[in-house]
Amino acid sequence: MTDVANQPLETETTVTISVDGAEVSVAAGETILTACTKAGIDTPTICYGPTLTPVNACRVCVVELDGSRTLVPSCSRPAEDGMVVQTDSERVRHSRKMVLEFLGSGVDLSEADDLRAWSEQYGADPTRYGPAAERMNEDVKVQDDLYVRDYDKCVLCYKCVEACGDDAQHTFAISMAGRGFGARISTEFDVTLPESACVYCGNCVAVCPTNALQFKTEFDLRQAANWRPEDQSVTTTVCSYCGVGCNLELHTQDERIVKVTSPNDHSVTSGNLCIKGRFGWQYVHGDTDG
């Protein structure tokens, strides 16, 4: 009675690749992006999320791989022994610049701090396409007291769709709809969220890289010009509802909770919460009718 697996067997092999001339070893199955991070190289990413299956749609993380005709997305390409990768070549910088420039030419990036910083870093100039360049042109959708969807800020990175779908919530309330530049994140026939399958877990909002999806609390504070990240602090605690033990990060400003997230690296949640954990905190401030 001793041949019992007490733990899943971890048989870990490593692969070694060259990143900008330096040898880096990562576990087999890890990506070029992981190797770059391990080599101390910051790689811009938009559609990549540590808890999500890579869709490699944004293409901002591309690197140059010896022997490959095209650039490859580092976020999804598994590292293989002997790969030689350049992360800062002329071609790489060019593609990153152009991706950011393309996005800047059609999308409101005013609240996408990372994208703005990278745009500056890579010298993206969205004004090159002139004032007539077609844009997203979407109105803000405020359909309930919890979410705001501002698709003028949407870069169509699929992260919300994945978080709503089989990477986490399995609710599938939203999908990419339409095609090409007309593609939009949408419910069926663009019905309102309360009419849709949405269960308001907020996991889509949590992964949005551009603030196209916001919690209403943040939206309202921004509208009142009172959203002050510099005055906020974050405290990790445990949700007060069921017994699963989800870690919550309480973002507080002026001694009030203004947003709730969960750490991506927490084994219980992988960054995901349910409607109660995400929004059921108002009673802390005495806002209750119960």
Binding site: M1, T2, V4, A5, N6, Q7, P8, Q143, D144, D145, L146, D166, A168, Q169, H170, L193, P194, C198, V199, Y200, S233, T235, T236, T237, V238, S240, Y241, C242, G243, V244, G245, C246, N247, L250, T252, E255, R256, I257, H266, S267, V268, T269, S270, N272, C274, I275, K276, G277, F279, G280, W281, Q282, Y283, V284, H285, G286, D287, T288, D289, G290
Partner: protein, 546 residues
């Protein structure tokens, strides 16, 4: 039956298991983030059988839903066990090595043929056979349950009936296999771990064990009573008898949450002294002589809670408590002070580390490690121990870790305490909705776009028979009382079954209807099975409510 009370398995294990029996649990709504792990398991190829009177949102993910009669769990489990034995699918080596009482069990389940079970349980014999074979032949399998198993008058039998299946097949004590009760509150596990049970010290040490008692007496500097105390249901019985005249309630709202609620409220109102320590002026607090306003434990205080996978994690203060509200520990220390015991200044870290010194399960879980490692799963006996992802690996050790063999339990199917009758011909069962929580004192604080309020779910054919339309307000009565509430026509429950949540007691006092028959061993009332009738309201115009 195996010792310490806790789920045997880690959430990560269900992602790799082969077979899931979800039995009396609507985890999709009641434990949504656990359900994410379960869904990963399904995406990885696990099959799932859901046993539940209702085709819940959880059951809709199952390969097979078995819509059993409310309260027929023991009959079904016994029939599954009998079929596993009859088909020669038991794990004979495991039974011989690690268990005791198999022959008695075999004899006890003998009457539970598939045909008999079909009649009692209401699902076809073939499906029961199929589930039995699937469970027995899976490489790894988990049984998960929640209040569908435990809110019955025979709750302990229900749990033991499921444990029997794990013993028959050896689906216990190994990665990916286990028995997993999902906890309904964020620290119900921790409360038990900390000795908030009538007969236990922290770490599930028995109060009638002189050695354990001596250990605690030495540290606490006081003599401890070796007699077990009362659990909640016994307390109400003692109130009824007049034996219990003073009650101190901390963070519980029995005036809304007890079954047969009118009776409970009467008893609470008749006490000599009722002290309520809570973050809200709950209905219970409204009945109290003294109310001690407390801070919100998870957002205004520091401490720990323990989850369904026995993971101890830190809670931290993020905002200051309002007004005069104070930390629970601070209140207790102040009370001790007034009673003439100087406990010093309240310090959660020191208290926790004292607990670690007294509870072997927690021996290695210092406050600092909880901070550094972000949570640890007990047992964690020493500082070098990484914590335990699953329990009962000893069942597979040659010497059983020096423990006695795990016992089978011979059980008899009883059915619900309250039979249906001519006056009360419909079955009522209760449960949670995704966006709400218990009596709604917390979840009522936010505006959920998906909230529909408490309504009575009724099968379309019952609705048709009673000439009811969706949303119509009706009078619902059980032997204990009547409430008015709207109905929702729902095809996901069988004819004869009705269902309601209990999140909005101010609007619908659903627990007026529920049965307070309870299990003497667990102290849980039979919220899951009452007999009711539905009557049209004379003045109704069928207006939609909710």
């Amino acid at each position: 039956m195996f010792g310490a009370g806790g789920g045997t398995s880690s959430y990560a294990e269900i992602e790799e298991t082969d077979l899931i029996l979800l039995w009396g649990s609507n985890a999709r709504e009641a434990h949504p983030i656990f359900f994410h792990h379960l869904l990963k398991g399904i995406d990885n190829g696990a099959r799932m059988y859901a046993v539940d009177p209702r085709r819940t949102s959880s059951a809709k993910f199952a390969d097979v839903w078995l819509g059993i009669e409310v309260g027929s769990d023991v009959a079904l489990a016994n029939a599954v066990g009998r079929e596993i034995i009859a088909a020669g699918l038991t794990n004979e080596e495991f039974i011989a090595h690690s268990t005791q009482g198999f022959e008695e069990y075999r004899a006890a389940v003998e009457p539970y043929t598939l045909e008999m079970a079909e009649a009692e349980v209401g699902v076809p014999a073939d499906a029961i056979r199929e589930m039995a074979h699937a469970y027995a032949t899976a490489e790894s399998a988990q049984i998960l349950w929640t209040l569908g198993i435990t809110e019955h008058h025979n709750a302990v039998d229900n749990v033991l009936a499921l444990c029997n299946l794990a013993l028959l097949t050896g689906h216990i004590g190994r990665w990916g296999s286990g028995l997993v009760p999902l906890r309904g509150q964020n620290n119900v596990q921790g409360g038990g771990d900390m000795g908030a049970l009538p007969n236990k010290f922290p770490g599930f040490q028995n109060i009638d064990d002189p050695e354990a008692r001596k250990k605690f007496e030495t540290v606490y500097g006081a003599e401890l009573n070796p007699e077990p105390g009362l659990h909640l249901t016994l307390m109400f019985e003692a109130m009824e008898r007049g034996d219990l005249r003073s009650v101190y309630v901390i963070g519980e709202n029995p005036a809304d949450s007890e079954a047969d609620i009118q009776h409970a409220r009467k008893l609470l109102s008749g006490l000599d002294l009722l002290v309520v320590q809570d973050i809200f002026l709950t209905r219970t607090a409204e009945l109290a002589d003294v109310v001690l306003p407390a801070s919100v434990a998870w957002a205004e205080s520091n401490g720990t809670v323990t989850s369904s996978e026995r993971r101890v994690q830190r809670v931290r203060a993020a905002v200051p408590p309002p007004g005069e509200a104070r930390d629970d520990i601070e209140i207790l220390f102040a009370l001790a002070d007034r009673m003439g015991h100087g406990w010093g200044s309240p310090d959660p870290e020191a208290l926790w580390n004292e607990l670690c010194s007294l509870s072997p399960l927690h021996g290695g879980m210092t406050w600092q490690r909880l901070e550094d490692e972000g949570g640890l799963q007990w047992p964690c006996p020493d500082l070098d121990h990484p914590g335990s992802p699953f329990l009962h690996g000893w069942l597979w050790e040659d010497d059983l870790g020096g423990r006695p063999r795990a016992p089978f339990s011979a059980l008899v199917h009883q059915g619900p305490h309250e039979a249906l009758s001519e006056d009360f011909p419909l079955r009522l069962t209760t449960g949670r909705a995704l966006d709400s929580y218990n009596t709604g004192v917390q979840s009522g604080g936010y505006d959920s776009p998906i909230r529909y309020g408490d309504a009575l779910d009724v099968n379309p054919r019952d609705a048709e028979r009673l000439a009811l339309v969706d949303g119509e307000r009706v009078l619902v009565s059980s032997p204990r009382g009547s409430v008015e509430m709207p109905i929702r026509i729902q095809p996901d429950l069988p004819v004869g079954l009705t269902f309601t949540t209990f999140h909005f007691p101010d609007l619908v006092d659903a627990n007026v209807l529920t049965n307070d028959a309870w299990d003497k061993r667990s102290g849980t009332a039979e919220f899951k099975a009452a007999a009711i009738r539905i009557e049209k309201l004379a003045s109704t115009d069928g207006a939609t409510v909710g």
